[in-house]
Amino acid sequence: MTEAKSQVNPRMSQEAIPDTAEERVSYLAEGHTLKSWLTTTDHKRIAILFLLSITFFFFCGGIAAALIRLDLLTPAPDLLSNDGYNRAFSLHGIIMVWFFLIPSIPTTFGNFLIPLMIGARDLAFPRLNLASWYIFVLGGLATLATVVLGGVDTGWTFYTPFSSTYSNGAVFMALTAVFISGFSSILTGINFIVTVHKLRCPGMTWGRLPLFVWAHFATAIIFVLATPVLTIALVLVALERVFGIGIFDPRLGGDPLLFQHLFWFYSHPAVYIMILPAMGVVSELITNAAHKQIFGYWFVAGSAIAIAVIGFMVWGHHMFVSGQSAYASAIFSFLSIVVAVPSAIKVYNWTATLHKGDIVIDGPLLYALGFIGLFTVGGLTGLMLAMLAIDVHVTDTYFVVAHFHFIMVGGSVSAFFGALHFWWPKVTGRLYNDVWARLSAILIFCGFVMTFAPQFLLGYEGMPRRYHVYPAVFQPLNVMSSVGASILAVAYLLPFTYLFWSLRYGKPAGPNPWGATGLEWTTPSPPPKHNFETVPIVDKQAYCYPVGGRGEQSRPRTQKADDDG
């Protein structure tokens, strides 16, 4: 009886494992066959598989976005027909939400870094992690099947009774695709929660967890508690579409608002799934660039959990004009203001972190500052939308389109690129040219602002969303937005040039090119299969940078700096 319980894993014991070559082989070099990649249970390899998949879907969604912006250059339906445009924006929505933004940071950097950051050898359920990738790819294939079958024209919101009775697109296939990708989220969520609870190394208390891990813990809570309600909502719409059951069909006595309640109960927490990991990344980037302890650790960590919990109580602000009762709208409006407070705390704390810092302005920091700037504008316009009287005028217009793109593209995608640049040396073992990184960050920022800032004005002037043919008075701002979109498209291609170049010609990065604190920087880059030779013991706070500012060792760090260093 006792023998089974106290069996201790030899690998985890403190005495060093013989420093054999086999141990030091990097996870990348461990096996080159396709089979070794497709049947791996190593969290680092699965992160790479996810990175490749979501990049593919990022470009699919990007093509749809390019079609939309090109078509909107002119008020008349020149490039696409009405149906074509409806299919383009629906596809853009579905792919970008479920196949890029929701999995973006958690499944790539979350998978790669959480075990490394908490001193574990892998996630709690490696096989579930691989299953999550396969389910994600299956969902992706179903989405491509939707495109082949004629596309879907219900928008990513699938509002009934249009999606269930009146739409003639491949709605059932689209519902199946999103239904399948939901399970990929649930498995990732379960994996993260159990790993953070059960696999922290000795000394890694909750108070010493990196904020990246806190943010992903909060995201995992939303994954697990929100996705099932989306699953049942999609099943009910699919049943109504295939068998004509009338749950949302008013002719049978059903209530179309029931679908909106179930859908937004998932979809608002889903936007927090998209932003919380990005906040985790920014906390890491800001503290490293400032080389200083985060300002108010427990406030920032606590506000991540607060966003996750209160995020479930605000969905009604999507339904202020949808026929929801005035009193419920007033309650949801109040709760939407309460949920904005934790975000404000985070932004002010990041700014305070820069105070008395030792700041090196490099690629990742520019992305982080881009995040803070754009997320602040996005968040505050969100507060405006929470105001009932303003929302009645601007909901379902381009004001809302601008608001959520400021947060999702300006915020979450900038942080994704910031994470890509910050941990690139650790993931690939190569340094890249930082000048190019800064240039691409600035170009993305400018392209973004030029694309989406005009849309605030378009929205307030009264141009509704999803409008393919619009009055000529809106054309100038639409042209400006489309020009900005072309700059943004080019700017997004830029990082892939010098990052791929660095794979071949980049100087090998040492274990800690940025002089950062965090267990992932104590392993060689790229780290070996089992992450740590001996399980580390943590005895310091999360971001204990040397108080005397930046030591010589950690400056200069990047490729460019090395040439002239």
């Binding site: 508690l225 608002l257 109580m313 969905w315 339904m319 009762s325 005035a326 009193y327």
Partner: protein, 91 residues
């Protein structure tokens, strides 16, 4: 063997509650009936969770994991019915 006795006891209690809920549906309770039948259902669930699913021996973390589902459903129902039941009210 104490565990077997508690399980059998719990089983008997569950069947008794089942009989009670069926009987309650025939009693002329009118508008109170839903609260009674769901109260009994919650009691049955408590027995199944506490004894069959062994929540009594599990630590706080696992109880939170089980309770979270119920709490989140409560959030959905309370706020959704906050809308549905107050739709007709004149503002």
């Amino acid at each position: 063997m104490k565990a077997v006795r508690t399980i059998l006891l719990a089983w008997a209690a569950l069947l008794a509650l089942l009989a009670l809920t069926v009987a309650a549906s025939f009693a002329p309770l009118g508008r109170v009936l839903p609260y009674v039948s769901y109260g009994i259902a919650i009691a049955k669930t408590a027995i199944v969770a506490w004894i069959f699913m062994d929540l009594r021996k599990r630590d706080g973390l696992q109880r939170i994991a089980v309770g979270a589902g119920v709490v989140w459903l409560a959030i959905l129902f309370v706020l959704m019915f906050g809308d549905i039941l107050t739709r007709g009210w004149p503002s």
